[in-house]
Symmetry: C2
Subunit: 275 residues, 2 copies
DNA sequence: ATGTGATAATATCAGTATGTTATTAACTAA
DNA sequence: TTAGTTAATAACATACTGATATTATCACAT
């Protein structure tokens, strides 16, 4: 390529004199909303169907927003993609590795970080229930799984997060998938992370309908009733089991194994059908 | 908030001494894949059903990739969101305004821009056919609508772009929605824009199934046959008109107006139903 | 042993939606 | 008036869906 520009420079000369810092540039961060399903309290007999949606937060040890709870994340480095940065930060800060990760949206409202101009590429991670114990025992002391309860109405979503005696809450107004939500109320969440959590929840619910995303939240082996509970939890609707079984039938494979000591007819154990 | 960090600083002191430039930061760009449907050659009688999918490219006047064709875009500024940057650059460079714009994906593979570390947040714009003439007459001299032909097979997409006597082509391998495509072959497209175009096309086709995205490509008033042609063009499949009419019925409203001088039974003109 | 209560799994059936073909309608051009 | 063309809808068989009912299989209590 020997074309010259209006200054008579070829591409090599141009690149040699190019100085990126003439222009202002933002820091680019990643923040990850890691969802998982809690197993629920397991009375051996007459157990409660108490699965709950959980998400992973970290208590901030430094400024800004010291003491508040934030999504795991950090700054992207020059030798990695935003996706690998999200995986790296999630594992460093919380011990969660090898989970499904999806890029959601770049949050870029000016002023969203009081330190400086920071654009954050939000990600969603779905953590298989089979991996939860390992994570709980990792050495990421400040990371905690919070039980998430969300109630939506007239365009707003109220988030309630509980982990032990820590309780956080926030309300945001949704503006569709293409605009950042607005924070109406925020108690205990750092930065604009209430926005990001609400956005991720909306996307998770939306993609439920036309994808097999929910399987990433399941352990390797599961019963169809367990799978249905997860769908019901995420969609907020009660489903009829006969119809549900028909719908997921092509996405699962029977193992021939059955649950034991359940106090009722054993249920067959399935695995995900990877086509 | 009067909490102190391990250095005994409160938040105000911390922010006063914070220096962003201690850390490397990328430039953040936006690039927009603007799609539109060409009206096709209109023989008044026995006209060809020759709608085509078009996209907007700009010939680069400076280094790098001087002379090659690139997506309209540019760097994000500190006082705007990536979405407004995408709208601004698209209008500045091509005259396209007030179109539907959707954020797609942040492209961040190291080395994707030879000048420096640049992360690009790709967007997709859908331009209503009613606006095409205005744009063609704008003063954006270097912008051209290219006719896009894409053929996919065994995980690869071959792109062919034509505008007058300019012909570009590229082949990329898709890796799902969560990884950037890989460039196999590239003739005439700047940077990694072949990747971005292929990704946008995949998303456009995917969202066709479960959204009313396609209406953004239509003029305000249209017939159901025209709408069907657009769906057929984008999906690559032939559709049966009786079934198609039933499916879109709830998304459109009759106007009571009809086409004229068509050489056959007039077709009724519809507008989009905004619920 | 036998019954009770629980959930799993499937059968059944009506109503709806879908794919397909056939038919009718309305226009232009010859 | 006829041929050619596309629009629009009717008609019908099949598939899918929501809902209820039925049967299966276990743990436990009596």
């Amino acid at each position: 390529m020997n074309l010259l520009d209006e200054n008579g420079m070829d591409e090599q000369q141009f690149l040699a004199q190019y100085n990126q810092k003439e222009y202002p540039c933002p820091s680019v961060a990643v923040d990850t909303v890691a969802f998982a399903i809690s197993e629920g309290s397991q009375d051996n007999y007459r157990k409660l169907p108490s699965k709950q949606l959980c998400l992973l937060l970290i208590q901030r040890a430094g400024h800004p927003h010291i003491g508040q709870w934030a999504l795991p994340g950090g700054f992207v480095e020059p030798d990695e993609t935003v996706g690998s940065a999200a995986c790296r930060e999630l594992e460093e800060e919380t011990g969660v590795a090898d989970s499904y990760i999806e890029q959601l949206f770049a949050f870029s409202t000016p002023g969203r970080d009081p330190r400086a101009w920071v654009i954050s590429v939000a990600h969603m991670a779905l953590v298989s229930s089979g991996k939860l114990e390992a994570i709980a025992g990792s050495d990421a002391q400040s990371a905690k799984w919070f039980v998430l309860n969300a109630s939506s109405g007239n365009g707003q979503v109220a988030l309630s997060l509980k982990a032990g005696d820590v309780e956080l809450s926030a309300t945001v107004a949704l503006n569709g998938e293409q605009l950042e939500p607005e924070i109406i109320k925020n108690d205990g969440l750092a930065f604009d992370h209430a926005k990001i959590i609400a956005y991720a929840l909306m996307r998770l619910r939306g993609e439920l309908e036309y994808s097999d995303l929910a399987f990433n939240l399941m352990p390797e082996k599961f019963t169809l009733s367990e799978l249905q509970q997860v769908y019901e939890l995420l969609s907020g609707k009660r489903l009829l089991s006969a119809a549900f079984r028909r719908k997921v039938n092509s996405f699962v494979v029977q193992t021939g194994e059955y649950t034991q000591n359940a106090g009722h007819r054993p249920s067959q154990i399935y695995v995900r059908n990877k086509e």
